[in-house]
């Protein structure tokens, strides 16, 4: 049963990912990308990582992709952008990346054949995630938070209205 669910979700994820790449309409591509992320969330859930699955939806599908759609709406892309996207899908552009991705895929399959059991389900509870994040991986958490803080300060600096003449009057 788990196997069937896994493969259905995996096929949907891969097909949606391919569709996301090949759409020339940016909005359609984004919708397929969102479906891909939802599919990955289902895969995480089936592999016994419900916390990662929930975060995948909350953070990626729920927040980051919303901002992507937001940008698409602001830019209001027209026929011109679609033509440019179409030209980027020419054979010579996707040949090399897909060859490299193919090599990676073969490597991944070889790794999996070494007797790893990805379907061996042991549910990882939120508590276990928290304990390992704030235990052995505390350095990684701290580094990530430093990086995010730097991003925050940078975004604040760039967003400041120091370029306009009558600054401070914006409110």
């Amino acid at each position: 049963m788990m196997g069937v669910l896994f493969y259905v979700a995996a096929v949907i994820t891969v097909v949606a990912a391919i569709m996301a790449m090949t759409r020339s309409n940016a909005a359609h591509g984004l919708i397929f990308l969102i479906v891909t992320l939802l599919g990955i969330a289902v895969l995480f859930f089936l592999l016994g990582a419900p916390f990662a699955a929930a975060l995948e939806i909350v953070v990626y599908a729920g927040a980051i992709m919303v901002l992507f759609v937001f940008v698409i709406m602001m830019l209001n892309l027209g026929e011109q952008a679609r033509a440019r996207e179409q030209s980027l899908l020419a054979f010579r552009y996707w040949l090399l990346p897909s060859m490299m991705a193919g090599v990676l895929l073969v490597e991944l399959l070889l790794v999996f054949n070494r007797g790893l059991h990805p379907m061996a389900v042991e549910t990882v509870t939120p508590k276990a995630v928290a304990l390992s994040l704030f235990g052995p991986y505390i350095l990684g958490v701290e580094l990530a938070s430093m990086l995010l803080l730097a991003g925050l300060v940078g975004a604040y600096h760039l967003g400041r209205d120091f370029l306009t003449k009558d600054r401070g009057r914006s409110q």
Binding site: A27, I31, P50, A54, V66, M73, N76, Q171
Partner: protein, 320 residues
């Protein structure tokens, strides 16, 4: 519960939620009428309740028109997203000790995930309509919902800290001595406001704001597609009310009456409160909404989180 019972419960839940949403359209107008000192819809049937059927008939009978300039597939997809996401959100709501579709150990996160997916409905609806008003409505909703989602999640972390779990039945059990509404007043306050903003109901209905944007993101929608947006909005309101009951008002806990009656009673009071807010509070300006969110709500939430963490640590004896 065995499989068959779960399926029966799901069917009952879907039917019940959709039916309740339909009745609520009438109930809300009626209550607004009372609070605003007028009659409200009272003509058809006892207290005007047959109006629900009349409304449904009208919406079903309308010509289902898709504007020629719209992005057809996305235009059709958009209204379904909010209904599906909100219905899925009900899966983790514990109505009574054993009456829950699935008791996940990430139940609360699942609820947050589903409410965050509901944004797409408004966003894609605005984008696919290919219309200036709809686009502006969609843009506003994206900014509003992404901002308010941040502290909607953060305001609940105090509850999670006190209960020690993301699982909703466990959170209800943890309130057997004292409701979290009393120990987490700031969390409740922020969650109510963020919940209103997430379900874009009247004080915070800037995405549709009919005075400035005609009807915002659903300007181009009519008939059943429009009804889907409305259904999603009412489902969202009910889901938020259920979550407030579960997280802050002790869920099914209460004396004498059976648990499920307590749950619905509390949820009903919360819904009434939301309708009263709609009758009482005017819509803020867009920049007021955003600065309220980031300059008032976020600091309140962070202070609440810090205090709760400190107290929880002190009570567990972890602090010297």
């Amino acid at each position: 519960m065995d499989e068959l019972k779960v399926v029966a419960f799901i069917v009952a839940l879907v039917g019940g939620a959709v039916g309740a949403a339909a009745v609520m359209t009438w109930f809300e107008r009626r209550m607004l009428g009372i609070w605003q000192d007028r009659l409200g819809p009272n003509r058809i049937g006892p207290f005007g309740i047959v109006l629900v059927a009349a409304d449904m008939l009208k919406l079903l009978g309308k010509h289902d028109w898709i504007p020629p300039f719209a992005d057809r597939p996305v235009f059709v997809l958009a209204p379904t997203a909010i209904v599906i996401a909100m219905m899925l959100g009900f899966a983790v709501v514990p109505f009574a000790p054993d009456l829950v579709v699935i008791d996940m150990n990430v139940g609360l996160l699942f609820f947050l995930a589903m409410t965050s997916l509901a944004v797409y409905s408004v966003l894609l609806g605005g984008l696919a309509s290919n219309n200036k008003y709809a686009l502006l409505g969609g843009l506003r909703s994206a900014a509003q919902m992404v901002s308010y989602e941040v502290f909607m999640g953060l305001s609940l972390m105090g509850v999670v800290m006190l209960a020690g779990s993301f699982s909703l039945p466990t959170i209800v059990e943890a309130q057997s001595q004292l409701w979290f509404a009393i120990t987490q007043p700031l969390g409740l306050f922020v969650f109510i406001i963020a919940g209103l903003a997430e379900s874009h109901r009247l004080p915070f209905d800037l995405p549709e704001a009919e005075h400035e944007l005609t009807a915002g993101f659903h300007t181009e929608y009519g008939g059943m597609k429009f009804a889907m947006f409305m259904l999603g909005e009412y489902l969202g309101l009910m889901l938020i009310s259920c979550m407030i009951t579960t997280l802050f008002l002790g869920g099914w806990l209460g004396p004498v009456l059976p648990p499920i009656v307590w749950f619905f009673l509390k949820t009903f009071v919360v819904i009434l409160f939301f309708i009263l807010l709609r009758a009482a509070i005017p819509r803020p300006r867009y920049d007021q909404l955003m600065s309220l969110g980031w300059k008032v709500m976020l600091p309140i939430t962070l202070i609440n989180l810090m205090l709760t963490g400190a107290i929880a640590l002190w009570q567990s004896g972890g602090m010297p």
